[in-house]
Subunit: 259 residues, 4 copies
């Protein structure tokens, strides 16, 4: 039986000073959760204020989107932080956006790690990397344990966070090919990103209604448990895709709602 | 009649990454309020965590010390911000340190603008500059109106903040010469900084017990109302001065206590 | 008699990391001098490399475009630097782009201060500000006195640089209204920017062929001596204007050539 | 037979703005090559100017010391750069210090990668990391192929650079324990750093005069070829060690001279 609702989350507030990025005003009308940059990899206090307000006005869930302190690399280059550095960096960024939210009469309700920090936290290729997932969980626990974390579906990070007593939403990617072990096919490989809107919506419906993913090699992951779908908003094409996904889901009676 | 108590405030947490600055561990045992850098002109998340914890352990009042985003200039170079930019920048920095404090079971209770931002906010040389004092007040009002502001004694900024319904503590400088209008003698002029410990403590006692300041030109400002004395902690000499000031005050039965 | 040639200069290379700004590829085909951001207010090493190469391929003169270290403010917010800080900051930025140019078999030939640094250097409202114009001149003199400076037409800065034995090109603005003293009408006043392409080209032809400017108040500045016209490239509209200006000049037989 | 001369190199110019680090004035009188920070991991234009001038006055060889753009981490945290990003970043930093040097009538003669960038360039743990050593070599080749590179003794990076036609000096560490394969014993292991001055000078003399290293496990690396010894200058202790090393070498008739 089909699930009655799903969350759509997107990375927003990625402009900086004079630099405008993304179609935030548009995409905000289609999603239910916004991951808002906190000034380290993108965003600045004025942009954050604008974006949090936009989310509030659209009834979209406000999320902190902490990233590595690397504006030039847009937070997409791994930076070898200690657990202590990562934990404090996350606390700092959560606090900054919480204050912005408070100043607007709004509230932060979730946290999602950005870019390379997200990958390093969740694609644990070796035991040693767990320190970042733990740091992120500790940061949330210390600042406000009612904040919900978003993590890759089935990842060790989600497990770590739940073991800490935190709430974690499991995320799937609408337009990315999967390996049979639940990891994403590397962007360097052909077919890693699915561009055709019909295929994307077909996959999304499989994921949400039939709880299965058809993998890159034709095999299937079954009985998946996804709480939120990650969509993009930084290009015209990605914005179009969000509209298609939303329309496709609603057509099947699935409500777009915060996890 | 002598006032029974006074606050001593100092700028702390000004280290950054590998760079160590100040005698925070020592000075924290002599003061009652710490203005802690928030990562824009000095400080980083790890340093903030360390310093807030140090304040907590010493029972020292924790203050946000927002500054211009200018690490190279240590926040001492004026940067022409709009009121909107200044307001959001302050909200961001307050939030960051509030989260650090919360993660340590502590709480931020005051806000003091740093360096050039402090001067630009309070030494209003023309009508047009009021926008920064207003921005600072608005930031506090929107984030948490129970936060107390520290401002130069008798400054227009203090007036502005009180008109907004905010609480403002008036600050005097132990080792600086005053002009008859209550402004500080420019550091460029001879005699602007008082170095002799005996003279400093004599002046402090006049200010606190007799509520008067003997100005640079020999004239007096009477019936002053000071809530807190600014002391420094970045050199060995300044640390020695803090000890002398505290001892001198306590000898006269004046308690060092948060404003 | 009409002058046979004029230079067109534009600010380019203002992208940063993931952030794309401007129509550099297009505008580069219409101008003769490019002022390329050096990583302080905009630009990064990869963007600089790309832009310098683009200039080289289009036979456009390569210029260093040093600005204040303020990416968030895009170098448009005044920062109170000492002369020493300004001089070293300019030397650093010139060196960085010289090395990029050298690595591409190209050469930097001019220097133009960006944004607020440009204004602070050239719109000397008081004696005290001359230190920035002097700092800029000293930087050029020490690094390579054969580098040409671009300065506001008739400004004190141009005079200062020439007194230092440096070569300075005088710059006019195609789309800005002038005051009778040769300064620009403040952007805050109505009519400060001229938007109609026909009016802009009419004014440009007056400036270049008749050596006069019709001011905001109807009066005229005569016998002007302009070496280069500043054009913009950050919006579609400004790009269109560049095309109109170039076409209008060429139609009158005026060659677009480096100063 | 003992070698008649050796170079002593040290990382200098690591102060930043208000932050003072190291004993540059002292150590500059004992060494023959200074690796000067270029503003990315440490240093700023004013500090660079001061330090380059100090090197010039002491007749010390001036080196660019490019690092990752990570002031908070002091360039000691690996940042996953592409080869293109690394190459341009190095060109930029070399150019910046070349201009500073030129403005002082001095010249940059060598390049040494800093901190994590140095390790990532030279401790190639997998094939894939070669891109950084290649990027560094390419940067030097494109900017000025007469610049000499400093690399870990016997490292793959030295080989790569020489294959490019560049000159590379091989570096040994006075106070670090070695593994039999010529790599350094990890700082995490006991005995990795040698603190006793007598032991350090004994080892240095073995390395320079007898061309051998006694490894951590008692085995020996023979017939080594070292051009320069890396010494430190950021603590009082390290400064003392530099004096001891210099005195010990000179006592044996070995001249301290640029490689």
């Amino acid at each position: 039986m089909a699930e009655a609702k799903i969350d759509l989350n997107s990375d927003l507030g990625e402009s900086f000073g004079r630099y405008k990025l993304g179609y935030d005003e548009d995409v905000m009308t289609y999603i239910s959760s916004a991951n808002i940059a906190c000034g380290f990899h993108a965003g600045d206090p004025v942009v954050m204020d604008y974006t949090v307000n936009l989310a509030k006005e659209n009834g979209v869930g406000i999320g902190a989107h902490p990233g590595y302190p690397d504006l030039q690399g847009f937070g997409r280059r791994s930076l070898a932080l200690s657990g202590d550095e990562a934990e404090k960096m996350v606390i700092y960024q959560i606090g900054a956006i919480q204050a912005i939210a408070k100043s607007l009469g709004a509230e932060v309700r979730h946290v999602k790690a950005h870019g390379a920090f997200g990958n390093d936290t969740q694609q644990l290729t070796e035991k040693g990397q767990e320190h970042l997932a733990i740091a992120l969980g500790n940061a949330v626990k210390k600042v406000d344990p009612s904040l919900k974390l978003i993590g890759f579906m089935g990842s060790r990070a989600v497990e770590i966070w739940r073991d800490m007593g935190l709430e974690a939403a499991e995320e799937i990617f609408a337009d990315r090919a999967y390996n049979p072990d639940g990891t994403l096919v590397s962007r360097r490989l052909p077919g890693s990103v699915i561009h055709e809107p019909e295929k994307v919506i077909e996959r999304v419906l499989q994921m949400v209604m039939e709880k299965r993913i058809v993998c890159h090699d034709g095999s299937e992951i079954k009985n998946i448990n996804a709480d939120t779908i990650c969509v993009h908003s930084d290009t015209v094409t990605s914005l179009e895709l969000v509209k298609v996904i939303r329309a496709g889901l609603e057509e099947k009676g699935i409500k777009i709602e915060r996890f």
